[in-house]
């Protein structure tokens, strides 16, 4: 059990930049003094909490969350674009062009936050601005979102009787998810920058 606790704590340690690991290293060193598996696990979980709630831990977690969200969203939604393309509609191209700036801005901001770059907060702010614009377009359901989702509904109508409902879900989930991620990244990046 102590080995598991050690692996968990060391895994969380990776979230911190090298020059900010002193306290986490101290918690890890004390892990060796714990007696019993359950106690060592409790000690490690407490240490993970300390790491995750630290300014650098939170910022890096948020940045990794954005990377996972962008990559996962791209992989998860690529089928939607492919479906529209395979059905012979052209609306998938402007839809991708619409989604691309948010994804790139998110990846760039996440990278700068991970590297604690001096422009990280500005990049996170720019990401939030781009996401605000794209979310507004998405929630208003205007071009290029509207024609793309209409084409998608037409392409899936035979296999998905609730296609219209799913299209609305897609719009709202993407907008709220992106806004939340961008806001969290900005707040944690600012907190990290204040500590640096």
């Amino acid at each position: 059990m102590k080995a598991v606790a050690r692996i968990l704590l060391r895994g969380a340690l990776v979230l911190l930049p090298r020059d900010r690991r002193e306290w986490a290293d101290a918690i890890l060193a004390e892990l060796e003094e714990t007696r019993g598996g359950l106690e060592s696990l409790r000690w490690a979980l407490g240490g993970i909490k300390v790491i995750l709630l630290s300014p650098h831990g939170l910022a890096r977690l948020a940045a990794l969350g954005v990377v996972v969200g962008v990559v996962g969203g791209t992989l998860g939604n690529h089928e939607v674009f492919m479906r529209v393309r395979d059905a012979g509609y052209g609306s998938w191209q402007p839809a991708i062009a619409f989604a691309l700036p948010s994804a790139l801005a998110g990846l760039l901001a996440a990278l700068l936050v991970l590297r604690r770059h001096r422009l990280a907060v500005h990049a996170a702010l720019a990401f939030l601005a781009v996401v605000c614009v794209s979310s507004a377009i998405s929630l208003a359901n205007v071009s290029p979102v509207k024609p793309f989702l209409e084409d998608w509904q037409a392409a899936t109508a035979s296999s998905d009787p609730r296609a219209a409902h799913h299209a609305d879900e897609l719009r709202w989930n993407a907008a709220i998810g992106a806004l939340g991620a961008a806001l969290v990244l900005l707040l944690t990046a600012r907190r990290q920058a204040r500590r640096d």
Binding site: A26, I27, A29, E30, R42, G46, G47
Partner: protein, 98 residues
């Protein structure tokens, strides 16, 4: 009304544990006070960040490095003051119960 800083029961318990003036290890502090690592270390980090606590790495008997802590001079005075503030209210509460 917002609580005065560093007057939580956990922080006061940590202050009491440090009052002997000796260097203390994190695990020993946790065992003695019953405060889990996830609560203890944020207190230590906060106190250290304000210059109330000093830390050093030392080599333990088993050859492993451990980090130990003690209150600085300023930290001792601060802890004394915070603990003294609590005593009247405690005695008032005891008197009220009696």
């Amino acid at each position: 009304m917002p609580r005065r800083p560093d007057t939580s029961p956990q922080t006061l318990t940590v202050f009491r544990a440090f009052l002997g003036g000796a260097w203390r290890y994190g695990y020993d502090l946790s065992r003695e006070t019953g405060i889990p690592s996830g609560t203890l270390y944020p207190i230590l980090i906060r106190l250290s960040g304000r210059g109330l606590l000093e830390a050093r790495w030392e080599e333990a008997e088993n050859g492993k490095r451990r980090r130990s802590y003690r209150l600085t001079g300023e930290g001792v005075a601060y802890a004394d003051a915070r603990l003294a503030e609590q005593r009247p209210s405690t005695s008032t509460a005891v008197a009220a119960r009696a």
